[in-house]
Structures are given as C-alpha cells and as structure tokens.
C-alpha cells in the first residue's frame, strides 16, 4: 500500500491499539491462574525444605539489605516444627538469587530449594538441586558449627561449584542471611 502521513499514523495507531487491548485482556484473564500457580509453587517450595508439618502461618516480613526476607512458621499440633525462610542474595553472577531455606526448631538446616535465579546455564545453575548435589551439603548442618562461607576463600566449610564460585558465594550469602534473620526465633 502506498504510504501517506495519515494512513501511516492511522494504521500504526490501530495496530498498537488492538495489540494493547489483546495484551491487557489476556493479562486480566491469566492473572488469577498465574497467582494461583505462584502460590502453589511457594507451598511446594516450603514442603520441599521442611519435614512434615500441618500448617504454615502468615509470613513475617523483615526488611534487610534493601529487600525482604520472609519467615514462615511451620507448626504441627500447635508445636513449632521449623521455619521456612524465603531469602535472597544480590551477589549472583546474573543478578538476584532467591532461595527457600528450611530450619528445624533447633536451627539445623533441613533443606534448601531455589525459587528463582538467572545464573549461567550449565555452570551457576548448579545451585539448583536438580542440576547438582551442591545444595545438599547444607542439609543436616547447623550453622553454629558449620561455618557458612566458601572453603576456597578460607571463610567456611562450603565446597563451591567448580567454575561457579560467584554463584556458590551468593548461595551461601543467601543461606547466611536467612540464618541471621531466623536466629532470634530459635532462642525464644
């Protein structure tokens, strides 16, 4: 079609209008399922890091280092069985890493799981349990005796992932942040 100022403006306006309406409509349509999927994922993430529990309370939010750490108290028969802590580290190789760390009532780490990250596929993404056993070394360790630092740096007892020391450090940083936040609850 031959171009003139009027038909160019009109056509582009119409196309963007239709596209914006389509995106807006689909956003509204998918908002609920997306929220539901996110919530289901959160519950799944909590049950992955904690041994059996009956109920999870409303999370306590703590602002630290410019972001929020969420602490979920898991109870069974009215007794606290552990805490699931949604924590983060901004020192990842590809940006912020979010992980869930489970602590038993005595402070022992019962498990970890990665919620989101943008680490390099094949290297840094080994912080994910499905890709390597890196995160399993935290299980059953109490940060009181198991120093949260990378062994290579002489800072602690954690074996870093080969060729992904930055991602490993960030993961340790996130676990450590979770521990620092949940510690006051343990002493009650």
């Amino acid at each position: 079609m031959k171009s003139s100022l009027i038909n160019m403006v009109m056509v582009l306006f119409l196309i963007t209008l239709v596209c914006a309406a389509a995106i807006g409509g689909v956003y509204e349509l998918t908002k609920e399922p997306i929220d539901a999927a996110k919530q289901a994922k959160q519950i799944a993430a909590i049950s992955e890091v904690l041994p059996s529990f009956e109920k999870v309370g409303i999370p306590q939010e703590k602002s630290v280092d410019g972001d929020v750490v969420k602490i979920y108290e898991a109870t069974s028969g009215g007794k606290v069985v552990g805490y699931a802590v949604e924590t983060f580290s901004k020192n990842g190789f590809g940006g912020t890493i979010r992980i869930m760390v489970g602590f038993k009532a005595d402070g022992t780490i019962s498990g970890t799981s990665v919620i989101s990250h943008s680490e390099t596929p094949g290297l840094g993404d080994k912080i994910d349990k499905s890709k390597s056993d890196f995160s399993k070394q935290f299980e059953g360790q109490n940060p009181e005796t198991f120093k949260l630092g990378v062994k290579k740096d002489g800072a602690g007892d954690v074996d870093a992932i080969t060729a992904a020391t930055i991602s490993s450090r960030a993961f340790v940083d996130a676990v450590n942040r979770a521990y620092q936040q949940v510690k006051p609850y343990m002493e009650d």
């Binding site: 056509v11 596209c19 999927a37 943008s118 596929p121 094949g122 290297l123």
Partner: protein, 197 residues
C-alpha cells in the same frame, strides 16, 4: 512453488541456522543443552507460525514505509501473549524457558520470514512456511545443543554418562564453545547436504 516444497525448504535449503545464518543470538545463547535448544526451537516455531499468519492477513492494510514497526508490534504482542499463557497454564515449562521467551522478539528469523514471505503470500502458505522454517530451526538448535551438552557435560537430554564424566570439556557449555561447535556443525551439515542443494 508447491505447498510441500514451501514446507520442506526450511529443513535443508533454507535452514535458518546452517544455511541462512539467521537468529544467531538465541542459537548461540540457549543451546547449552539439547533440551534447552529444543524448547527454544519449539517456542520460536509457535510464534513464527502465528506471526506469519497474522502478518499475511493484514499485509494489504499496512503502508510500505511503516511495515517493519507494524511487524515488530505484532510479533512482540504474540510473544507476550505466549509468555502470559505459559506462565498461567504450564508453569513448569515456563520455568525452564523463562529467560528465553522474550528473546524470541528479537529473533531475526521471525522478522525475516514476515518480510520475505508472509507479506507476499496467502495465510495458508505463510503458515506452512513458518512451520517448515520452525522445524528446521528446532532441528538445528537441538543438534547444536546435543553436541554441546555431550562434549561439555558428558550427558545427552539430561541423561548423564557416568563413565565419561571426567572428560567433559567445560568450554563447550560456555560462549566460545558455542561458536566452535556451531562452525564445525555448519561445515558437516553443508558437506552432507551439498548434493541435495
């Protein structure tokens, strides 16, 4: 050109990765494993077919001078819709593909097919063209991903070969390995298909 030929030309003769050398950014960036490569290929194919159909339908309404921005808006919209639907209904696949999906917008194969084919042909033929090129792209990315995964981490489609683990050459998972693997595969592909072309 017969309909069959429109569909099959994307496999070898106009294979986007090995013959046309289009879409190199996702090709090099996402093929760290066979599954990643295949997922990226399938997602791209989906958008390619839809964008070809839509652009072919509206081709007569778009003034020539603004056709590129019009195409890009259509493609970006389709990718955003795909992303929203995937996040809502197949969150597991969305998880693995998450970072790759927005990359589809800047894939020049899609814009290239819109410009070179869909803006001149009927919606049905454009859909066939999109499917053919999409299959070719998916095949190439899976092949490249498999080669890099095998050489780099001694596994294939996530299945680890325990005996070969110590021999994995990490460089193939990294960016330089992408260029090396791509260039050798390209040589082999063009050698093998020289007669067909």
């Amino acid at each position: 050109m017969s309909n069959l030929k429109i569909f099959t030309k994307g496999f070898v003769k106009e294979n986007p990765t090995f013959s046309l050398l289009l879409g190199m950014c996702p090709t090099l960036g996402t093929t760290t494993s066979a599954v990643n490569g295949m997922s990226m290929g399938l997602a791209t194919m989906f958008v390619l077919i839809l964008s070809n159909i839509v652009i072919s339908l509206i081709k007569n309404l778009i003034p020539d001078k603004v056709r590129i921005p019009a195409f890009i808006v259509v493609i970006a919209t389709l990718v955003t819709l795909l992303q929203l639907f995937m996040e809502a209904y197949v969150p597991a696949i969305y998880e693995t593909l998450g970072v790759f999906i927005p990359l589809i917008v800047v894939n020049c194969i899609i814009l290239g097919r819109a410009e070179a084919f869909a803006s001149k042909n009927t919606p049905f033929k454009s859909a066939l063209d999109g499917a053919g090129i999409g299959v070719g792209f998916t095949f190439s990315l899976t092949l490249l991903g498999a080669a890099r995964e095998f050489l780099g981490s001694a596994s294939l489609f996530g299945h680890k070969f325990e005996a070969l683990q110590p021999y994995g050459m990490l460089i193939f998972v990294l960016a330089p390995g992408a260029f090396i693997a791509l260039s050798y595969l390209m040589v082999l592909f063009n050698k093998a298909t020289a007669k067909i072309k």
